[in-house]
Symmetry: C2
Subunit: 381 residues, 2 copies
């Protein structure tokens, strides 16, 4: 249990008037405790009461040894076996955490709406009922996301190492490209290169889109062989120390046409402008605007259909890891906030270009975790 983070969570719960929070095996639990286990079909929930008493966990007996070692006396464990089922352990955890509400007002409990399943919700409601207390649930995702937004030195060091590993793998991947190879083959090579370079895993499945497919930002890698004249987008991510990196580079197989070169230069300028805008107190909307205006001014505004970037940390999705770099994202950002900058232009008949870096806001500007060459690489076809 990370005491500093737990104390910040308790303040957050109290300021929202919540009686406690019940967490899934999730990135939020990992943030609080360092424990990285994943949801399974077996119920596992962590209970934190806003009154500061020792947290408790309901978990399968199978998982108990590892979790007990990690927590010591900083959490109480209620374990259950497949033969028993989870009901009794859950009953004890609810009694301990929310028992004071028996017969009085409902307990107000934060839960993770995007992670908790109906299975856990119904089990929680039944255990509360059996304890004579009603529960009202509130989505705790925004509270946890806000807590996680500013990364401390250790977190930033993990992200820098995650980016270093990823760039080594990306270098190998680009060197591996040959005409006739397919998107799926290159994506698989990239995934293996990320693991071989020392990552704990990928932060998402490596993505490759080439030639006409590169013009579709939502393409799924398929079996089309690379041809001379293809633009090839490679978007990939690593995990190290639990923290994600995420990079995109676009290379040309054989000499690209004039229009493809102009698109590339525009996207590179947008990436550069987006990074240059990053400083304390800037908003996601302003960074998006800095990158987007370059593309709009070049006449490609209609071909940039996505946000400029997303938060990055234990996850790669902005609902768990803000900020979102998009119109309407108006929260001023503090030093230590980490996100991607990834403008792209996708034109049917030409292809697509995306250039993505991972940055952190510093006291006087920004630092980029990724430094992979951004100039257009032309491979021999």
């Amino acid at each position: 249990m990370n005491v500093e983070r737990l104390n910040r969570l308790l303040s957050g719960l109290n300021s929202l008037g919540l009686d406690g929070i019940v967490l899934m095996p999730s990135s939020n639990l990992r943030y609080l405790t360092g424990i990285g286990f994943h949801p399974s079909k077996r119920l596992a929930l962590t209970f934190v009461s806003a009154d500061g008493r020792t947290p408790c966990l309901v978990l399968p007996a199978l998982e108990a040894a590892g979790v007990r070692a990690a927590f010591g006396t900083s959490a109480e464990l209620f374990t259950w076996t497949d033969a028993e089922g989870p009901a009794q352990a859950l009953h004890r955890a609810v009694a301990r955490t929310f028992g004071a509400h028996s017969g009085t007002r409902s307990a107000h409990i934060g839960i993770e709406y995007t992670t908790m399943r109906v299975m856990e919700l119904r089990a929680l409601e039944m255990a509360a009922l059996a304890n004579g207390c009603a529960v009202e649930t509130i989505d705790a995702t925004p509270l946890m996301a806000a807590m996680r937004m500013v990364k401390d030195e250790d977190e930033q060091a993990a992200m820098a190492e995650s980016a270093r590993i990823l760039e080594a793998a990306l270098r190998n991947t680009i060197e591996h490209i040959r005409p006739g190879m397919t998107e799926r083959q290159l994506a698989r090579f990239c995934s293996n290169a990320i693991l071989a370079a020392g990552a704990e895993g990928e932060s998402f499945d490596a993505f490759v889109a080439a030639g006409p497919n590169s013009a579709n930002p939502h393409h799924s890698s398929n079996d089309r062989p690379f041809e001379a004249g293809d633009l090839i987008i490679i978007d990939c991510g690593a995990v190290y120390g639990g923290y994600a990196s995420d990079i995109t580079r676009t290379v040309a197989l054989g000499e690209p046409g004039e229009l493809a070169r102009r698109v590339y230069a525009t996207v590179l300028a947008a990436n550069t402008a987006g990074r240059a805008a990053v400083r304390p107190n800037i908003t996601g909307e302003q960074i998006d605007q800095a990158a987007r205006s370059i593309i709009t001014d070049a006449g490609y505004g209609d071909y940039f259909p996505h946000r400029t970037g997303h938060g990055l940390g234990l996850e790669v999705h902005p609902c768990h890891e803000p900020p979102d770099l998009v119109a309407g994202s108006t929260t001023p950002l503090n030093p230590g906030t980490t996100f991607t900058i990834e403008p792209g232009v996708y034109i049917e008949g030409v292809g697509g270009v995306r250039i993505e870096d991972d940055v952190v806001i510093t006291r006087d500007g920004y630092k980029s975790f990724t430094s992979f060459d951004r100039e257009l690489v032309v491979l021999s076809a």
Copy 2:
């Protein structure tokens, strides 16, 4: 939309007194429609009314083209964009499917408790409220699982091919074993071999446990190098045509001790007895007993801590894919039912042995999709 399966679902809904079912992007949806998309952070739900009207889907506009092509006129689509959000599309789907309940009794809706998140449940409840109707939800997992239990010819053909691909990959993996290689390296090799052999994916992450680690059935593959004298358990799975295979073999690196050989012979006898017991109308409990009694009689009963097998099909978990081969599983099984048989014995100081096959009940007995050599292979150390 598979009309025969849809009609069976409608009968099931009506016999349970449900007004309809709301499905996540899940294996159940794939079973009904052939569409294999996965849950994302964007809300996507399929509505089937028990009264037989055309089903409808709420889904992100991004996904619409592929889904529309798959359905033709057999489903209505309500799409939403990131700018709009899903509320309006969801409102229309609820009005269409459950609108008749406005102001009257609650609509009784089946949902998948182990797949649906609180995010979707709350959105569904709010859309119902906005339509003036209350909803009561019931777990539809058992209904869908029962529907899927007996596999038709096409499903069995996909499972046979999935097993064929898997066995080719397993052969390559066993040939690749060398002293000094680690569990994690071999597991990664195995995963790649499965994809290279023509699988669409793995049905779960390939598992390797060797030497002392093999004695722990819940081990996670780590970086311990293989040594002479190790028993090496390899448990892996492929997906083909959406259908899973799942095999385990245990090999010896260098000559195994006498006790290891005796354990291997016992587990092989249990696997053989389990398979031999398979015929129409047998229960999961009886198959478990047939395998388990061999192990108990040999004196290793306390070292066989898991069920004898689990259902297999679009998934590998018995809560979605019955039957469970365990005490208490007393439903008589019909021809076409598919499952694993995987007894194991795990003894500290000796190691572990598990031998797993995939079988289907036939009219007069069983057929095994897997036929990989079951005799102990001793590799030179």
